[in-house]
């Protein structure tokens, strides 16, 4: 197979998900790369068909049938492109989250320092963190050991201590691991993969202690000093272990790996890569959410205090729209879901409906009421997953001079990286957002669920192809960029939300909205409205606050101006202040919002 970008004309990519394997065909056209055909089939990693390649071949067969392009030979091998451009492919790539994805245990010494850095490294590499253990997590040794021995991680990431600091605490954590002796998920005879990314002075002791239990790889410290984080080496080691230990022991993956010359990536890692790449290229702060049936992933890129773009990913393992829908109900409460509805619904009816969705996850809303109920749940899942993300996506304050007190304090100053007022674009992915019957519904879910502020471009992933583009990006960044911007990213619209101090006397008009110097609308308190702009028009949006205490994105009282693609829906102005107050909600208020956005027609 070919891997040089100049040689590529046809690339087939699969994402082997927990439930479905999705195959996409990317082809180089006259002017640019395009996503052309799509096929899908149930993923096959469990008995009676425990071989991932069976599901992948079924998905290829669908692409073959739809495109007319011969992909598979009779003997089951790939047809490689030759001079006949209607046959074969040049390259096959894949991502995978089948069988529950990459599951990790992270362990550190201080919860808010090394363990949190380890968690960020694992999440950024696309893992689900099953457990985070710290020497200071308030549990007794035997409680931690008991907990660890009952989980079966794919990989353990062990950290602790800054370079040059005390070694005894991290050695204690290593001893605790030996005592618990967790067994890896795959392969009874496989030695547990452990990545040590702690105090470099303790590396040899840790390696010695874990020698009988684990296959230990030592990488640079994730936290070489209190004010510096170094996640790259740990993330790379996770990807290497993922391929050499996890993938190769999963059913059929040995064969799948032999089909592609490029490493199979964990699905969230591929999405993370394309998000980072897009943020870097467009010089924008980005928030991306993938809301699935069982879990919700949040990705962000925001600048730190030094102006360097920082990527973060979190996964809220039990927030989702089908298997985990009842958990959103449990975590948010029925009242929090009901507040988003434009009609009355009794709590008991709401609870029973969501439970029925939980036990029959493939059913779909037939009535508009039922659709709005699912979309209300989505808002709460977005709200809760963003809250979770913000708690972990933090920067570390760099101190030019450290006092003696700082040295002994064993803590570091952290600050939140995510700033909703400075968010440029939010990208929604997952069925409830990508496949919402109207784009305006997707827009409103993101505006309300994330409580957007200032000026934010709203986009959705057209058919959940970000994982595919993420892995393509590793081989052919330009093709990935073209497909991402033209075929994947659907610009839905722009939200404009003025924010002000709760007790400010702001009058009856909050801000004026101009497009290309023409006044197109005025934002009123508590009112939500749509300002139509020709679909796909790119122009200059100027928002002028009408009171000195109002911030529309450029600072309090400042005019905010951006050149922007107004997408399919144009501008959605929201006069409800942030954070939402309880008087923002009532059935009649929500009814007005839905009506103003023409969602009740």
């Amino acid at each position: 197979m070919k891997t040089e970008p100049r040689d590529l004309r046809t690339v087939l990519v699969t994402d082997c998900g927990s439930t479905t394997t999705k195959a996409l065909l990317f082809e180089k056209g006259v002017d640019r790369w395009r996503q052309t055909f799509r096929g899908e089939a149930p993923t096959t990693v469990e008995e009676p068909v425990a071989d991932v390649t069976v599901g992948a071949r079924n998905a290829f067969a669908e692409v073959q049938e739809l495109s007319g392009r011969v992909i598979l030979r009779d003997d089951g091998s790939f047809e490689i492109t030759s001079s006949d451009s209607s046959r074969g492919i040049d390259l096959y790539l894949s991502t995978s989250s089948a069988g529950g994805g990459l599951q990790m245990l992270v362990a550190g010494v201080v919860r808010s320092i090394t363990t949190e850095s380890a968690e960020r490294a694992a999440l950024g590499a696309g893992a689900i963190v099953m457990e985070a253990v710290s020497a200071d997590d308030g549990r007794e040794d035997y409680e931690r050991i008991e907990r660890i021995r009952h989980i079966k991680p794919d990989i353990v990431l062990l950290t602790g201590g800054v370079d040059g600091g005390s070694t005894s605490h991290v050695v204690e954590v290593a001893e605790m691991l030996v005592a618990a002796a967790p067994r890896p998920r795959f392969g009874d005879t496989l030695r547990l993969p452990v990545i040590y990314a702690g105090n470099s002075d303790a590396a040899e002791s840790v390696r010695e202690i874990l020698a009988t239990l684990a296959n230990v790889v030592v990488v640079e410290n994730v936290r070489p000093s209190l004010d510096r984080e170094n996640l790259g080496p740990a993330r790379e080691a996770i990807h290497e272990f993922f391929l050499s230990h996890v993938m190769s022991h999963s059913p059929g993956y040995g064969k799948l790996l032999s089909w592609t010359p490029v490493p199979v990536m964990p699905t969230p890692a591929a999405v993370g890569d394309i998000v980072q790449s897009y943020a870097e290229r467009s010089r924008q702060s980005v928030l991306c959410v993938d809301i699935g049936g069982a879990t919700t992933d949040v990705f962000s890129v925001f600048p730190d205090q030094q102006g360097k773009a920082v990527f973060n990913r979190t996964v809220s393992a039990n927030l989702g729209m089908s298997y985990s829908i009842a958990n959103v109900l449990v975590e948010a409460g029925a009242e929090a879901i009901r507040r988003w509805l434009p009609f009355e619904l009794g709590e008991s009816e709401l609870r029973d409906r969501l439970r029925n969705k939980m036990i029959r996850p493939t059913s779909i809303p037939q009535t508009r009421e039922d659709l709005f109920l699912e979309q209300a749940v989505c808002r709460e899942a977005l709200r809760l997953s963003l809250k979770h993300h913000r708690a972990l996506a933090v920067g570390i304050e760099v101190k030019r001079e450290r006092s003696i007190a700082d040295v002994f304090k064993q803590s570091s100053e952290r600050y939140e990286l995510v700033s909703m007022m400075h968010l440029d674009i939010v990208i929604g992915s997952g069925g409830v957002l990508s496949h919402a019957p109207s784009r305006m519904q997707a827009a409103l879910m993101m505006i309300e669920g994330f409580a957007l502020q200032g000026i934010t471009l709203l986009a959705v992933d057209s058919i959940f192809m970000m994982p595919h583009i993420g892995v393509l990006n590793a081989v052919h960044p330009q093709a990935a960029q073209e497909i991402f911007e033209h075929d994947c990213l659907i610009k839905v619209g722009v939200s404009v939300v003025p924010v002000y101090a709760p007790h400010a006397k702001i009058g009856t008009r909050l801000a004026e909205v101009y497009v290309d110097d023409a006044l197109v609308g005025v934002i009123e308190p508590m009112k939500v409205a749509r300002i139509p702009v020709s679909a796909g028009h790119t122009g200059t949006l100027r928002v002028v606050p009408l009171h000195r205490s109002i911030d529309v994105g450029a600072g309090i009282g400042q005019i905010c101006e951006r050149v922007i693609d107004f997408g399919e829906c144009g501008i959605i102005v929201d006069g409800r202040n942030r954070p939402f107050s309880s008087d923002s909600f009532s059935v009649s208020r929500q009814h007005d919002v839905y009506e103003a956005l023409e969602l009740l027609c």
Binding site: S18, T19, A41, T43, E46, D141, Y142, I145, E146, R149, T167, S168, V171, E172, E175, M176, V178, A179, A180, A181, R183, D188, S205, I209, A294, N318, Y323, S324, A326, N327, L329, V330, E331, S348, E349, R351, D352, R353, R355, N356, M358, I359, R360, P361, T362, S363, I364, P365, Q366, T367, R368, E369, D370, L371, H435, P437, S438
Partner: protein
């Protein structure tokens, strides 16, 4: 295009049931292939390492970690009792003694010269695995488990809480369309699996459990009652380990839905007989549904004792009977009149593959997305 998918639950009056019984860790199988077992026969066992307690000896004795070994009174591997002095230091010409004690019965597992900690491991715990249903051992995986095969009726529920139980099936004197109240619970329910009605009150469930019932199978339950019964709100649909005295299985769903009459008929046929039940539910890929295995008896391995899963292998077809699993026709039965090939726009604005149906309730004709149908 792929075939219409109509998820359905198994409802088989007579079949060959094969249950894989597997230890959570490697161990030893205690029965041979072909052996006849009862539901409570222990078919395999394993030993799990005991808990490990860490004694911070260096800190307690006031010595450097590397020196702890010098003050040990036991060697690695020695058996110790709770309260035994495991390390001791004598100070001031032997007048002052400082020591550390074993926190549990067990054995010394390690002494760390890096941290000065002593690890004491408790005795191994025996884990046993029962056959769960009476039958024949059809397969043996020597250090993992067995497959038990039996001739039985087999019914899957849609959702359950609580784990495995074996009891005698007893039909409640409640028609399938009526709610179950405390007055419906028989005085003698010891080891019974009670079956009938729908929407049991919390009082009915508690009374049944207090009278010794080990299982309760009913059409539906409302979420508030489930929460009261379990003691907390279940978030993710992975169940089976709830601390409930009696396993609860619902066959249809949440709200007010009568039990499917076919299910009721299959269960009534094994009234008074031994049944094995399990409420464990996992609604993800590789789905696990709760089950009621009726009157299992020995079967010759490999011999097909009856209809195998004939219903679930059948797709949607014109004239077939289905149940609608989503509002606005939630819980209603209907007959399929037509299965249009293309996508159609539904009320939400989405496009979906649909079926035209005639409702049993009033004979009206309606259109419903195929994703919202279950074959009954």
């Amino acid at each position: 295009m792929s075939k219409p998918l109509a998820p359905t639950l198994r409802m088989l009056p007579s079949t060959t049931v094969r249950k894989r019984r597997e230890l959570p860790l490697r161990g030893r199988v205690l029965v041979s292939k072909g052996a006849v077992v009862a539901s409570d026969t222990i078919v395999a066992e394993a030993y799990r390492d005991g808990e490990l307690r860490i004694v911070r000896a260096a800190e307690d004795l006031g010595v450097v970690p590397a020196d702890v070994e010098k003050y040990l009174r036991f060697s690695i591997g020695d058996v110790v009792r709770r309260g035994d002095i495991i390390a001791e230091i004598h100070g001031l010409w032997g007048l002052l003694k400082t020591h550390v004690l074993s926190p549990i019965d067990g054995s010394i597992e390690f002494v760390s010269s890096a941290t000065g900690h002593i690890g004491v491991r408790g005795p191994k715990n025996r884990i046993t695995l029962t056959a769960y249903l009476g039958g024949v051992i059809a397969e043996v995986d020597p250090d993992r488990g067995v497959v038990v095969e039996a001739h039985a009726s087999f019914v899957q529920g849609i959702f359950g809480v609580g784990g495995e139980h074996v009891g005698t099936l007893a039909m409640l004197d409640v028609p399938i369309h009526r709610e179950v109240t405390a007055a419906d619970i028989p005085i003698n329910a010891k080891n019974a699996v009670l079956v009938g009605g729908h929407s049991p009150s919390i009082e009915a469930l508690r009374l049944a459990a207090s009278r010794g019932a080990v299982g309760f199978v009913t059409g539906s339950i409302d979420d508030a009652t489930l929460k009261e019964y379990v003691g907390y709100d279940i978030g993710v649909a992975i169940t089976g380990d709830e601390p409930v005295p009696m396993t609860l299985i619902v066959t249809e769903g949440f709200g007010v839905i009568p039990m499917n009459s076919r299910v009721e008929g299959i269960l009534r046929a094994v009234s008074g007989k031994i049944v094995s039940i399990n409420g464990a539910t996992q609604v993800r890929a590789g789905a696990v549904r709760p089950e009621i295995i009726g009157a299992p008896s020995t079967a010759v391995p490999g011999e097909d004792m009856g209809a195998r899963d004939e219903i679930s292998s059948e797709g949607l077809r014109i004239g077939g009977v289905v149940r609608i699993i989503r509002v606005p026709y939630f819980g209603q039965r209907a007959v399929i009149l037509d299965l249009p090939r293309g996508l159609e726009r539904i009320e939400t604005g989405a496009s979906a593959r649909v079926a035209r149906l005639r409702l049993d309730l009033d004979g009206s004709e309606v259109t419903v997305p195929r994703a919202n149908l279950e074959i009954v």
